[in-house]
Structures are given as structure tokens and as C-alpha cells.
Symmetry: C2
Subunit: 294 residues, 2 copies
């Protein structure tokens, strides 16, 4: 089979729950065990069919697993790995779904026991919604999953994890782990640092008049604070680099505006427009989102 007979998911939220549903519905796991810390969440996941059984005992939950998938927020991945690894059986594989890879991978590889492989992975799927109640079996259908194997990652383990993701409908590709972290700093983490500044800069009196301009650019500012602080911590150096590049771009735009250099400003807008249009077509419903503006 493309999956693993005994799969344990640590953290049965949106990603973990969706993975469980997809594995079960596609027959890619004989048994999916859920590990968490809140009984009600785990019971709901079991009721939805995302997991066959659950336990609060992490070591016990991973003991018989062929594959352990850590689906917790970024800030908890290394700690959960530290708990799981000593209990995992020889020949088994640990993987994760964190959106930053280098720091976590370095920590996990430093504590890998003999006979257990770690495959760093990042499924680029999810939504502002969190939690198992938003989980759905088709979340990974057509989604991109990036594997960032290192020289310590056995090729057969990476291939087995890739096969599991392809089994649930994802497009799997590999990236150098540092290139991955630079890319996500650029296209995901930086906007999460800018959007809060945009909405915090708005006058209290102006907020009630917010239309598309402000709404679109600040939608992600409603994200969970601690989740993003942990991501910023983890990918701080790359984020600082991306931020520097952004501030340079802002300086060019500010300078053109201040000096009424409209040709320069038009050049900036033209370049941005053509880059933005190059992102289309969009899986994410851009067209349905063309809302009102001022």
C-alpha cells in the first residue's frame, strides 16, 4: 500500500484530522491512532472517522506505529519528537508538517535513535480556520507538499512519506531545507508581519470605512498570535532578510511619492501588477474574492 499499516498522528487538529480522514477514506492505513491532550477533541476526531482510537499517552500511542506524524503547531514539534522517539520501534519513520524546517530538523536529527528515520515535510494546505472541526478528507487534494530531506534522511524513508502524501492527493516535491525556509519567509511569514502593521497603523476613526483594500491586505492579521510568534522565532534569520528586502521596496515607493516621481512610482506598480497577475490562475478562489473596494 502507498501508506503505512499503523499510523499515529500527534495533534489531531485541522491538518492531523484531515490527514486521518484522508488515510482512512482512501484505505491508506489499517489503523490510525490519535495522540493529544484534550479528550473531547480526540473523541470528536474518533467520531468523525479521522482516527480509529486515541490515547493521551504519547509513548504508548507511538509504540506500535510504522509512521508517526507530528501535526502540532511549530512551537511544539521538537518537544513532541523528544517524547516520541525513544518509544518508536526500529524501522519506523517520524515525519512532521511544520511550516519552518531547518531549526526543527536540526533538533530532531540530534536526538534520532538508531533505526528510526526522520523525514521533514511541509504540506502547504490549511486555512485561517484551525481545529479538528474544520478537518476534511480532501484538504490535501491537489495541495503542494514539500519534503526537505537532509543528508541524514534515508532515501527510502523520504520516498515512503512522499508516497503517503501522493496517496491522499498531494503534489509532492523536494526542496533544499534552507531554500524552503527562505521561500516561506518570503511568501508567507513576511506578509504575516506586515499585515498587523497595516491594520495597527489605521486610525480608529477610519476602521469602520474599511473596504477591500484594507480587508484583503489584513485578513491574515486575524491569525493566532502564539502560532505565529513560534514561526517567527523559528525562522527569524530568514524573516529578517525578507523584511530588509521589503523595507527597501517601501523606501523606493516612499521616495517616489515624496518627490512626486510619478514615472518611478508607475514603474513600481507596473512591476507589481505583472508579478501578481503571474500568480494566476489561483486555486484559492481569488476570482470569487474580488470584493468591493473604494
Amino acid at each position: 500500500m502507498a501508506g503505512f499499516e499503523h499510523t499515529t498522528i500527534i495533534g489531531v487538529g485541522l491538518i492531523g484530522g484531515s490527514l486521518g480522514l484522508a488515510l482512512k477514506q482512501r484505505g491508506l492505513a489499517k489503523e490510525v491512532v490519535g495522540v493529544g491532550y484534550r479528550e473531547s477533541t480526540l473523541e470528536a476526531a474518533q467520531a468523525s472517522g479521522a482516527i480509529d482510537r486515541w490515547t493521551l499517552d504519547l509513548a504508548g500511542g507511538v509504540a506500535g506505529a510504522d509512521l508517526v506524524v507530528i501535526c502540532t503547531p511549530v512551537g511544539m514539534v521538537a518537544a513532541k519528537a523528544a517524547e516520541a522517539l525513544p518509544a518508536m520501534k526500529p524501522g519506523s519513520i517520524l515525519t512532521d508538517v511544520a511550516s519552518t524546517k531547518a531549526a526543527i530538523t536540526e533538533q530532531i536529527e540530534a536526538m534520532l535513535p538508531d533505526g528510526v528515520a526522520f523525514v521533514p515535510a511541509h504540506p502547504m494546505a490549511g486555512s485561517e480556520k484551525r481545529g479538528n472541526e474544520s478537518a476534511r478528507a480532501d484538504l490535501f487534494d491537489g495541495a503542494r507538499v514539500i519534503l526537505t530531506p537532509t543528508e541524514k534522511t534515508p532515501a527510502d524513508a523520504a520516498e515512503a512519506v512522499a508516497g503517503m502524501w501522493r496517496g491522499v492527493g498531494a503534489r509532492v516535491e523536494q526542496l533544499d531545507i534552507n531554500a524552503h525556509d527562505r521561500i516561506v519567509a518570503n511568501i508567507s511569514h513576511l506578509p504575516h508581519l506586515i499585515a498587523p502593521a497595516i491594520i495597527n497603523a489605521a486610525d480608529e476613526a477610519a476602521l469602520p470605512y474599511a473596504a477591500t483594500g484594507l480587508r484583503d491586505t489584513t485578513r491574515i492579521a486575524a491569525s493566532d498570535t502564539q502560532l505565529w510568534i513560534d514561526i517567527f522565532k523559528d525562522n527569524r534569520a530568514n524573516l529578517l532578510g525578507a523584511l530588509k528586502q521589503f523595507l527597501k521596496e517601501m523606501e523606493s515607493a516612499s521616495f517616489a511619492l515624496a518627490h512626486e516621481d510619478w514615472d518611478a512610482l508607475a514603474g513600481i506598480l507596473d512591476r507589481a501588477r505583472s508579478r501578481r497577475l503571474s500568480l494566476e490562475p489561483d486555486d484559492d478562489g481569488d476570482s470569487s474574492c474580488s470584493g468591493k473596494s473604494t
Copy 2:
């Protein structure tokens, strides 16, 4: 009637075409005349029912009108007013739909002939889409229309224009003209300056991986360049003020990140989150836009 018997619309694009459709469908004008410079556009507008007849001759098109609505992009409003005003009949009213108000209004009021009133107006409706082919009769249904009368605006003229907008479903309110321009600099024009910088700062290699973070924050970077250059020109001083505030916010976030002051950064994200959530509920389809993210 809540409208005007003879209404002329200069510029039959998204806003002008939608206004024509709404006026005709609700019986708020006996005749709607369209003025433009491209025959095919005007013919399409006539075929769609947005206008009863059209002309390329601006002076002729406005001569018999009780109300003239300039619906061109910001950069052309004052020039069109200069052409229209000498041909307008005593007792008639000129209004516009520009998203910046002070500079345009000052220019138009300086050339107002006796017996013709000008009512500055800004319907906060529209979309990234432009052109008459995107026009729809319900565009203003529930939309906000801001009137920014000055001491030169006759109260009865302002009330008549307000009645017309209420007639097509809009919520009409008044704002001080300078307060209006500061507000739109804040919540509309500033994001249109930042979004281009975000996408221009992204590495070429990172763009293919763009998910919600980048897509949402840069959707408006696909807007028309010249349209926005004209708006930036017109509202430059307020935009510079809003930009200064934004750069101050970015500096706080950058400082916290650089110095690993996670408590300060969490405070920034918390404040942004609560301000963003305070914008809900959202008419503009936020919930349907919760796409994939990294």
C-alpha cells in the same frame, strides 16, 4: 421621484454603468444619457439597459440634464467638469464618484457657474474589475456612499443627490471633506502602496509557492497603474501621513523581531488581531475567501 428626470452619466464603466442600470430598473430617471469616448462601450451600455441613448459630444449630452454624474477615473474628473459646466442648465446639479475629494472639489468649485451646484460624492463600491461589462444593477445595494459637502454646496442639492443614492439602495452619510481624504488614505490608498512592495520584495524563485499569505495581501497589486497614480497624486499629503504611521508600526515590529522581544511582538499581533476581528461581519465575502495557507 427620488432621482432626476434627466440624468447624464459621463464615463459608463463599472460605476457609471451600474448606476445607469440601477436608476433605470428602479424607475429613478426618465432618461439616462451616456457620454463617453468609445462608441463600442456606449453601444454595449445601451444594449444592457444602463443608458437610453449616448453621445460622444459631452456638451450636448449634458445640456438638458437635471443631474450630471462624472464617473470617470479620478485623474479625469476635473477636466470633464470643465467641459460640462458651461453647457449645464441653471438649476442643475453636478456630482462625481471620485475616491479622493478635496483637490477635485476645490478645482470644480473654482469654475462653478451661477445656478449650477456641485455635490462631491464617493460611493464606496466597486471591485478590481473595471468596465461596463462588470456593471450590475445591485452594485450599490447596501454600499456606503459618502457625501463631502463644503460651504459652497447648497443643502437642497446635497439632499437631492443623497436621495438618488438612497434610491439605488446605498447608505448615505456625510463626512468633512478633509476627514474623508485622510480616512481613504488610511484604509484604501496606503494598502495600494504597500501591496506592490510586498510582491516586488518576493524572490522570483519564491513566487510559485505563493499561498494565502501572499495572495491575500497582494491581490490589490493587480489594480490599474494609472488609476492609482492619479489617486496618489490627488491625495499625496494624506497618503504620506498614513505611510509615516505605517513605517512607524513596521519599525516597532522589526525592532521586536531583531531583538527577539517576543512579548512586544505578541502584543503587536494581539492588537492587530483584535482590530481585524472588529471589522467583522464582512459584506465582502471574507468567509468564502479563507483559502489555503502555508
